[in-house]
Symmetry: none
Subunit: 413 residues, 2 copies
């Protein structure tokens, strides 16, 4: 049972305000097995609205329309819809009384314009929440139309109370639904897709959604059916099989962020972490500390841009800096060892590189990053060459460094 | 000259990801006097795409299409468009070579599927940024079509370099346009709105766009007319008058970010900075180092979550920590002094607080943050109580701390 959403609001097509209504409704409907096929945004009162509505009526079983229900001149949605549907507007007396009461309560004077708020097309039903929000539903041929306010809080109230229950009832018993999210990092989308195809041969009946979310790929697994336990079992079998296919690029089985996964690993293993950053400039520390309770395992970090700070704080040897340079495997190893000692931590993670756009040379181009990890059995370093601008290099550096730590903790270094 | 935007991406119509591309493009186009009439979102490969594209071609002078240019099976935008336009697909050799190089750089293997990325409709022109992003433009009858990637960073790069200049040139000389962006931090939107209304009485003919962008408010000032000099003068008069109304909550006269403004101030005054963070966990360092060339004035930073690290690295006195606690004016002052000395910097900026959601007490609730600033004439500390969740507290802490430094540098501390 497919549907669509039409948003009206000049603030949307001028980019002044980000849409939240379509996203909210689309997610709730998708979760309920009622896919949204199309979302259209138009300015207030655009004559195109009629054309868009007619086309939606032809191809969809339900249409959700938001915005343009207010008292001002540019709120024209109701009048436009009535014209397209060839319906008269009638005054809803209950609605009118409700508006009068509400104005009184808030200490506002009555104005004839407010009468407009209670004008609805013939045959429409007010969606009553007992609150202020106004909206209505209407059946036209085989299609349900829902007119909702553009203000997000009011839209959500009416959507939950007057739209979703009607649609799910109409769609019949969609049975049960089991859904899981996964995050992956370290392979291209295409390789992950191939792995998913392979698993789909083995475990049938799981729908997979792909959501590239730089620098990660997110997947959503959905199974629907009449009974819950086999669905759950099926999704779990899918995750196990996918894990076998893609290996440890699967960050965790439960959609947790990389910093959550690393935090949990450190906590479970009773280990602590310290971080030394050069080119990532604090982003690794920022991500680690986004987790509540990270103070239990995160001992601290340093951002050492200058050679002097690398020497003073992290005991990077002068000779290393002179002979190999600040961006080198040796420096990253020294930094990792140094920050581990400085904070008395079990792990020292360090990065040094060239974030750009300036500072690159033919031998050491922008995007060149060395990482060091000092653990329980010594120190290791790695070389990476990242693409993109300063922001992308910082993002990839932080993700790659945290992912390295995750893999080391997995293998029980 | 009207246009529209078509977004393809299943992640959009399932509500999994919020659109940022249409909003960005719509805003930039609106600012340039090229209104967007309609935005349509469809799932990947939906056959409806053809119908939507045909209708857009009929009524619009330009159409921007994002998403579906990738290598996987569900990336079907190019093939669908070629079919609708009745054009053959041809391989762009330059593009192919670029893709091969990029894969090599990142250490990925070649796969025949990547060849798809260089297939474009006959007559199309690759939008070349010299970087990785792929996209192309195409003229069909009187309508310009632009195909852009769905990844926001890449989309923006190509939009700015290959779309906006073409469209503004095509729109011809619409008279002159002077536009300026402003960022404000430290007052509610409604107060800023009142100030803008006051200034509008005084300086006429400047259109003001409001863009709340937590925790800042962004404004766009636009003046249009037949001649350039009076427009420029008018907008500048508006900014001066607004500055008088709102005071130094105006971060700068040119839309620069807070970290850019602070960076410029430090550079101009020949001063250096070091940062010590507790509750903001690295976010201040991350923001400061987002600016290319920040190594010239940013000496480094430390993230000291533990008391031990505050004592060892920053010389916070044991008595201070014992008597006043880690979250106190005294500790923030000691941290500021300590980090200034540690990195031999001219300014030491320090924050310590409770980001939450755990760790709060009745005396020291979640959101309580102390900041210290050690400068040329001693050290000062301030107390703040921020609202919101962990993410909001971190964001407000970093913004407020950097803004304090900006104001101090303004007054020539």
């Amino acid at each position: 049972m497919q549907g669509e959403i039409i948003l009206t609001g000049t603030e949307l097509v001028t980019g002044q305000v980000a849409d939240v209504n379509a996203r909210y409704a689309a997610r709730r409907l998708h979760e309920s097995g009622l896919p949204v096929r199309c979302v259209t945004m138009l300015g207030d009162g655009d004559p195109l609205f009629g054309e868009v509505l007619v086309r939606a009526l032809r191809r969809s079983r339900y249409v959700i329309i938001t915005g343009g229900l207010g008292p001002t001149d540019d709120d024209m949605t109701v009048a436009q819809a009535a014209e397209v549907l060839n319906l008269k507007l009638t005054q809803d007396e209950g609605m009118l009384a409700r508006i009068r009461r509400r104005l009184e309560q808030r200490g506002f004077d009555w104005h004839p314009r407010y009468g407009k708020l209670s004008l609805i097309p013939q045959g429409a039903t007010i969606l009553d929440t007992g609150r202020a929000a106004c909206g209505f539903s209407l059946k036209s041929q085989d299609t349900w139309l829902f007119f909702l306010p553009g203000i997000p809080q009011e839209m959500r109230l009416l959507f939950e109370s007057g739209v979703l229950p009607v649609l799910t009832a109409m769609a019949g018993q969609p049975g049960h639904l089991v859904q899981r999210s996964l995050r992956l990092f370290g392979k291209m989308e295409i390789e992950i897709q191939q792995a998913v195809h392979t698993v789909e041969q083995e475990v049938e009946g799981v729908e997979v959604g792909f959501y590239p979310n730089f620098p990660e790929i997110h997947l959503t697994l959905t199974a629907r059916g009449p009974e819950h336990p086999p669905l759950k079992e099926r999704v779990e079998r899918f995750i196990v099989a996918l894990h076998q296919e893609v290996g440890d690029i699967l960050l965790g089985p439960d959609g947790a962020t990389l910093e959550e996964v690393v935090g949990r690993q450190l906590r479970e293993q009773g280990r602590t972490l310290a971080v030394a950053e050069s080119c990532s400039g604090g982003l690794i520390c920022h991500r680690v500390t986004n987790i509540s309770g990270s103070s239990d395992y995160f001992m601290g970090g340093v951002v050492t841009y200058s050679n002097q700070a690398k020497m003073d704080l992290l005991q990077v040897a002068t000779e290393t800096l002179e002979e190999k340079g600040a961006v080198s495997a040796e420096t990253s190893a020294d930094m990792a060892r140094g920050v581990k000692a400085l904070f008395h931590a079990d792990f020292g993670l360090a990065v040094t590189g060239i974030a750009g756009p300036t500072g690159g040379t033919p031998e050491k181009p922008v995007g060149l990053v060395f990482m060091g990890l000092a653990g329980l059995n010594g120190v290791e370093s790695r070389r990476h060459q990242f693409p993109g601008d300063r922001d992308m290099v910082k993002t990839l550096t932080a993700e790659t460094a945290l992912d390295w730590l995750r893999r080391e903790l997995l293998s029980g270094l």
